[in-house]
Symmetry: C2
Subunit: 459 residues, 2 copies
């Protein structure tokens, strides 16, 4: 995962680094059973979530790129097969088959950076059942985590109301892959930059960052640290809260003013304390010294609520750095995405035992627009036609990526920006909307579900 090949700067073609063994064991036992039973028909699996978390009005779909790369590269290596053999559960015939197996199916998906709602298929895999089954774990993992990050980041971008938001979260992400995918997803959602250098290289995202408290602490005098850093990096950002924040701001001003134009500072960063009060006082000190161009960046435990409160209070802040609250999406660390069989051998499928409803058969989602705003969505059978924008588009055919599977990060970012702006205002806001966005299920689809359920009950 950490060595990406291909044109990484485009953001569109990165090696997923994925192993076909990254799957739940039951996918493999089921695959062997399908093979032995001669069940070789086409299956349709759909990925969707059932409910929005209490603190989300929408989800920003993200993570398709990693899925398509994985499917293109899908194959079991000799090491993988050796390991599976060592488990003494799989037949020789089945392992031979796995060796030759590649993903040959079609994929339809909602493009990354699109807003989606409950029960709407985000990814639809149409493939021989063995192939579609084996890739379940990877697809769920990647679409889930990136949609969690993108949805959280979109709220922070909304809260910042045009000010820059920067990803500082790598250290608190759940692992290395999460940190990289968070940087990617938050950039799609509208972040300005990431502190994660590896993510910068992998995806071509702008990188940002200057100094930590340790740099100040390692010097005998804070002012020595400031002076040396400005000498090395003219126009840099200086971290001013290691000891006394306002004393540090005065020290920066003194250094710059007495340097005869030799020292330049671009911004100061406040990472603790009362950010509202301290940013105002810092701004006043800088302005009184004629340093009106010097920006103020704040960080330290920020989430979208705190960002919105600071923006509403009209603090003189130019940018926000966010870490933990983005990295673990603290208020909603998971979405209830599922990857469900909806059709096999051209017959619709459901399950009935619990409240976990599945709508049978292949579907499409149409989104209706008016004056540049989203009005409503309707989830329909794939053979129904409704006016509006079809959200699911073909991105892979016969295991090969189609043009729509080649979006650049720039495309995705522009799409997310346009989508977020087009949301009905109560849905875009941070507080829970009184009425959910209207995403309806077509009458035909509901009738199919009732009919299939009766048939199963009768059977």
């Amino acid at each position: 995962m950490t060595r990406h090949s291909g044109d990484v700067r485009s953001g569109a073609r990165t090696n997923s680094g994925g192993s076909a063994l990254f799957t739940d064991l039951y996918e493999l036992t089921m695959a062997q059973a399908y093979a032995a039973e001669g069940m070789e028909n086409t299956a349709v699996f759909e990925l969707f979530f059932r409910e929005l978390p209490a603190t989300r009005n929408y989800v920003l779909a993200c993570g398709l790129e990693g899925v398509l790369s994985f499917l293109e590269e899908f194959q079991f290596t000799s090491t993988d097969l050796e390991y599976l053999k060592s488990l003494n559960r799989f037949s020789h015939d089945f392992l031979e088959r796995l060796e030759k197996l590649r993903f040959t199916g079609n994929v339809y998906a909602v493009p990354e950076g699109t807003v989606v709602f409950p029960l709407e298929p985000v990814v639809q895999v149409v493939a021989p059942i063995i192939e579609a089954q084996l890739v379940e774990t990877w697809i769920l993992n990647q679409i889930h985590c990136q949609s969690v990050f993108a949805s959280k980041a979109a709220r922070m971008v909304t809260a910042a109301a045009g000010r820059a938001v920067i990803d500082f979260g790598a250290r608190r992400s759940h692992g290395i892959d999460a940190a990289l995918k968070m940087a990617r997803a938050s950039y799609i959602a509208g972040f300005a930059a990431t502190s994660n250098t590896e993510a910068g290289r992998c995806y071509g995202i702008p990188v940002s960052g200057t100094m930590a408290h340790s740099y100040i602490q390692a010097h005998e005098q804070e002012s020595d640290a400031f002076r040396r850093f400005m000498q090395m990096f003219p126009g840099t950002t200086l971290l001013v809260d290691t000891y006394d924040t306002l004393a540090a701001v005065r020290s920066v001003i003194h250094l710059v003013k007495t340097s005869g134009g030799k020292l330049k500072v671009g911004a100061v960063r406040l990472d603790s304390g009362d950010l509202n009060d301290l940013s105002r006082q810092a701004r006043r000190l800088l302005d009184e010294a004629g340093m009106t161009q010097v920006e103020i960046i704040v960080s330290g435990g920020l989430n979208e609520g705190r960002i919105a409160a600071l923006v509403q209070a009209q603090v003189p802040v130019n940018g926000f750095g966010v870490g933990t609250n983005l990295a673990v999406s603290r208020d909603a660390p998971e979405l209830d995405f599922a990857y469900k069989l909806v059709e096999y051998a051209r017959q619709p499928r459901i399950k009935t035992s619990s409240s976990k409803m599945i709508l049978p058969g292949r579907k499409q989602v149409f989104r209706r627009w008016r004056n540049g705003c989203m009005v409503d969505d309707v989830i329909v059978r794939v053979d129904e036609h409704v006016d509006g924008e079809a959200l699911l588009v073909p991105v892979m055919q016969g295991g090969r990526r189609l043009q729509a599977g080649h979006d650049s990060l720039k495309d995705m970012r522009a799409r997310a920006r346009q989508q977020l702006r087009a949301l009905p205002p109560p849905i875009r806001r941070l507080v829970r909307a009184e009425s959910r966005y209207p995403a309806e299920i077509s009458a035909l689809l509901l009738a199919d579900q009732i009919a299939l359920r009766s048939k199963l009950d009768a059977g």
Copy 2:
């Protein structure tokens, strides 16, 4: 990350897959400044957390192995250096230096599977400041996420009171690395197995899993699916909740009883509905049919609280499968780990501006035991001697791993088991303890902090 080399079955030596570029940009800008200023002295950084989340009484330290692998392999590749050059922020001299840079420091650490408390150093890095600074992001990321997973998993193991707990979380983890590290950390904490085949291969953890709802749905009749799966995998686990749970249990019984000994089932799995009621009814049906050896496994939205409630209600359940609640550690997705400079050039260091206290200087932690139980801990200056067990042990010297850095997963798992049993009962329990575990700071250490603070205030 997905291609691990070395003796993976030992669990002790895996390639971290880490890139030296997986670092925050500011680590690199600071490193260039240190180099330019000739700041080449030894720094001591300590990794610790400040506060326990409201729903944790202890943290199970985990993730050291990935840190040591990373430090052993640490180097910038030509691709890394090319990327850094493209940023136009770094000097030619500095990039040349990075090319030759390796980690040459010493590391002291609390062994994986040890219980730790606030302010106790878990990892201590003693190295030239540039090296110690550049590895911050990776060390924090890995110790943080694995300790989050291990601490959550330990609570589930405690709740299960001897019954098996199995990791089903790969699809809901934040990324691929998280899924692998979750499987590893939960195994150390006492889990019986993982569903993640790649984790099984990487770490030699037992793998588990049989069928999903899609397998049942893909067949015309549920009973066909059951029969065929038992034919293929004698003694398998059958998933019985796709349509009507108890009807499915009766169907399994009928198939086995009328097969003339040809069909064998090992367990049934219930994944939805009222698990207390359904497991009792399923047990009764199986027992009445004389199938007393057939086990019952439950899953579906389980966390440690639900497991404890089922165990307390004495449900006839043999094992628990957990997914999302482990994967995102929903009640406590993060710990406030920090990696702080505490000494540079043999001088103790702190920061003072906020409530984020740093205890100055190199430290040690002593744990006192009585009759096989933990009594209390004391955090001391490294030159103090106190009776008890020293928690920080040398694991790396001059960039080379020492014997104590070669623990096997089995060692770590045994240690965690012994540690959890030795906890004072109120600390081991799931509810928040009225009194926190006593982890005190020595008088000398507090005096050092006060003295250093006065000196800084005076300066």
